[in-house]
Amino acid sequence: DVKVTQSSRYLVKRTGEKVFLECVQDMDHENMFWYRQDPGLGLRLIYFSYDVKMKEKGDIPEGYSVSREKKERFSLILESASTNQTSMYLCASRQTGGTYEQYFGPGTRLTVT
């Protein structure tokens, strides 16, 4: 069974803080993704990575950066958290080729006050 884990289920941070969200997958998948989910907007892609040290911007990369130093780990960084980054953050992974199916982690509910 593929497992994608995220470092925290709930996180509360203050405006201006640097925030790290960690994601780890155990199935040796090449591709990893960070999404945010907001009511009425669905899932929106922030960044994705198709290999170690590689990254590509998604639809809403502003205010975020990512790091992929190891194949199994993909980190999302909020350099200076703002209240409009309060959201549910979902990490996903998938193997290259195949059915394009993504495996999601349980999500991190981030609140920025």
């Binding site: 009425g40 669905g42 899932l43 979902l90 059915t99 394009y100 999601f104 982690g105």
Partner: protein, 111 residues
Amino acid sequence: DQQVKQNSPSLSVQEGRISILNCDYTNSMFDYFLWYKKYPAEGPTFLISISSIKDKNEDGRFTVFLNKSAKHLSLHIVPSQPGDSAVYFCAASDHGNQFYFGTGTSLTVIP
């Protein structure tokens, strides 16, 4: 601009009846479509998918239909069960790198 749209935010169906969830897309370059199911406090889980070279794919109680000319896909659940109550997202991809998700439809199956 939303490239994948689910125009019905919610749907209620009686147990045993058919549930039909709809999804429209705008980009004719999309070549693969997926449906995910999401329970509260959990990440989405993959349900069923379809390639653009097909117009139907079936897996047990779940069938996805694709109408490329109308840029429309639908998910049929027959018969609906209370455990199917969840939020359903459709997603589309152009060659598997970037995925575009709809806004979700919350399905309630009434016992």
